[in-house]
């Protein structure tokens, strides 16, 4: 294989004019033939191994960072579903009751998930105030295929040890297979919850379709 000055500059991580200077100074194993230099890969490899130089010939430079497609919040909510009229009296009870209702998680994992959620609540309450909590586990859930946000409305507000000590009536269960997705959803969710219109809208306990629609308009308006 033959390489041009530009290719080699990418492999060595230097500017093309550095390669040209090295050629002029005789630091590279090639001799000038006309204005265009070509490098033989085999010669370069021999030379690089002799001089202990890291030559990244195999992979073409630095691979482009894959842009992971992020799931929009509206889709996650659609995945998770909306459940209302859940009855419970304390934090653990709330979590247990909600988990039982959420149909998209297979029953095998529910016990494990419950433990994790309780553990997270013990560390620091996820009640962010204003009657809203976002329970989520600290570890990512490898058994999920796609991220989901399940919205649960309680029948009666429950003391959730929230930050502002107000009882909680709305819970967003944020469950995600990867950390990146988790952070993205969390950021979008908290953005939405800062919107007064949205929180007022939540008080009316909308159903899944209405909620997804509302979130979609919010997403569009703020391009998130």
């Amino acid at each position: 294989m033959e390489l041009s000055v530009f290719d080699l500059s990418k492999h060595l991580g230097v500017a093309p004019n550095t390669i040209e200077r090295w050629l002029r100074q005789g630091k590279l194993p090639v001799s000038p033939k006309g204005a265009n230099y070509r490098f033989q890969t085999s010669e370069l490899e021999k030379w690089a191994s002799k001089h202990n130089i890291n030559l990244k010939l195999s992979n073409k430079g630095i691979p482009e960072k894959e842009r992971e497609s992020v799931t929009p919040l509206s889709v996650a909510v659609k995945n998770g579903g909306v459940y209302s009229d859940i009855q419970a009296n304390d934090v653990n009870g709330v979590l247990k009751a909600c988990l039982e209702k959420i149909s998209d998680i297979s029953d095998d994992f529910k016990a494990d998930l419950f433990d994790r959620l309780v553990e997270r609540e013990k560390a620091l309450s996820t009640g962010i105030g204003n009657g809203i909590a976002i329970p989520h586990p600290r570890e990512q859930l490898s058994y999920l295929t796609s991220p989901m946000v399940s919205v649960c409305f309680l029948e009666h507000p429950v003391d959730y040890k929230a930050l502002d000590n107000q009882p909680v009536s709305t819970l967003f269960f944020l469950l995600s297979p990867t950390l990146k997705m988790h952070l993205h959803l969390l950021s979008v969710l908290s953005f939405c919850l800062r919107d007064h219109q949205f929180t007022n809208f939540l008080k009316a306990r909308p159903d899944s379709v209405a909620l997804v629609e509302k979130i979609e308009t919010l997403q569009k308006a703020n391009s998130i």
Binding site: L12, G13, V14, A15, N17, T18, R21, W22, L23, R24, Q25, G26, K27, P29, V30, S31, P32, E43, H51, N52, I53
Partner: protein, 575 residues
Amino acid sequence: MPTIRNWYKTIYHKLFHLDDRLLLIIAGSIAGICSGLAAVALRLSLESVLEWLHGFRHYGWAFIIPAIGALLSSLYLEKIAREGAGHGVPEVIYSVSRYGGLLRFRSSYSRLISSFLTIGSGGSAGPEAPVVMSGSAIGSSLAKFLGLNDRQRITLVGCGTAGAIASIFNAPIAGLVFSIEVILGEWKFVNIIPIAIAAVAGAQVSQAIIPEQVIFNHQPFLVGASDILPSLCLAVVTAMISVLFTKVLRQTGKIAKKSSFPLWVRAVVGGCTVGIIGIFMPVVLGEGYHFIQSMISGTFSMSVFFIFVAVFAKIFATAMTLGWGGSGGIFAPCLLIGSLTGIVFHKALFSLFPTIGCASEGAYALLGMTGLISGVMQAPLTGIFLIVEITGGYETILPLIVVSSISSTMSHYIEPASFYFKELIERGQFLRPGTDARILSDLNIRELIETEFIKVSENMVFRKFIEIIKTSGQNFYPVIEDGTGEYKGVIQISAIRKYALDPGMYDMIFLNQIMDTGMMTASLENDLQEVLDMMDINNMDSISVVENDRFIGMILKTRILDLYRRELIMQTSVH
């Protein structure tokens, strides 16, 4: 047919391009022969003209002969060859370290002619620096002709130098050592072989043309353990003399430069001074090999006091010759001053301790020479091998090493820069391979600069800027003026953190209110050294490069480290 051609191509390629050792050896020996011829030509012509002028020495007007020589020499250099004055060795070192040994073709003969005029007329200077200059220019021109790259060209410059020194002293090892120790400054496997061959070629040329075997013949010296202590003392003396010599040379040159006389007046003044001294002390005239010979063989007959004065007279005469417009080197004057010093020391020693059982006067003349060469050039190896070779004797090697090492160490202690390097160090151009200064001078701002930057307008609202920050990973944002695109300042994310975390500010401020306009900027013309100094002084991690009011890019310290390391690997790796 095509297969044969392919074979030929492969062989040619393998022999001369991939592995250039054979090419360098062949080209190096040619360079050695050519520079050897140049050196022999200068030596022979000097000998004959000195002989011819000897007949006029007894006339009263003889003192103007050196003046005429210096005048012609300086006019030739300035008006015909149009080269800068000076002995040329710093120029060779400068070119080797900065421009891959590119020298002008005219240098290969100009110094020969000018130094012939200076020394031939009786000016106190040596023919060695001129032949070094011409030898290295021959090597460089040969490399240019063959279209070689910088590394190969530098080797050929070294070959030319080695051939010249080897030929003029008939001393191949001294040629090799001088070339590597003084000119190239690096002991590299690929350099040593071609240079050694060139040195031998140069010496062979000189032997073939001038059949005598060693320059300074002498009876074997009897040097014993009792000479070690005296030679220690001698080393101290020669170190002092070397420092004095270097200082006088430089000072005289400075005075001459400050004086408003035209060039030719300076040359005449310098030449006449030397001529007048020469009337009373003919020992100062010319390169003085003849006197060195008589000193080594112990036939030199002058009173102690006279010799003592002659040391300083020679120093002064050399300074007047070289500083005031003559052309030549300091090698031969060093040898002469050294041997005079050695003899004075020996005579003083005997008058103080008449019973001391140490070697003859000639041996001390040798030791003195080594002391001076090592002290002035601070090149101990060159001093040792040169003296061993030009006298053809190894019996004095132990005291030689003692004197050489002590003299060079001491003079290094007093005056850290040697005569050849002083000028370059003062200009910041002493760039030995593998040193920090060399790497910084090789790396160019254009190679370091990162140009992929999102630029922002000075009239942008802060909120919009926050949106840009969210999506790009950049830490610096150059701010430009709207219509003209002129660089206005830079915004560093770390500096605006407190506004960025305060949403209340988002719609309140424009970028020109928070940008940093006082930040130093570099330009493409700056050297990396200057840029780094700028960054150090102001404690910056990055610096914008601005040219003609346009933002060009940014230099980051992390990037510098990265490239610095690569450059260091490339420079120091064995080829």
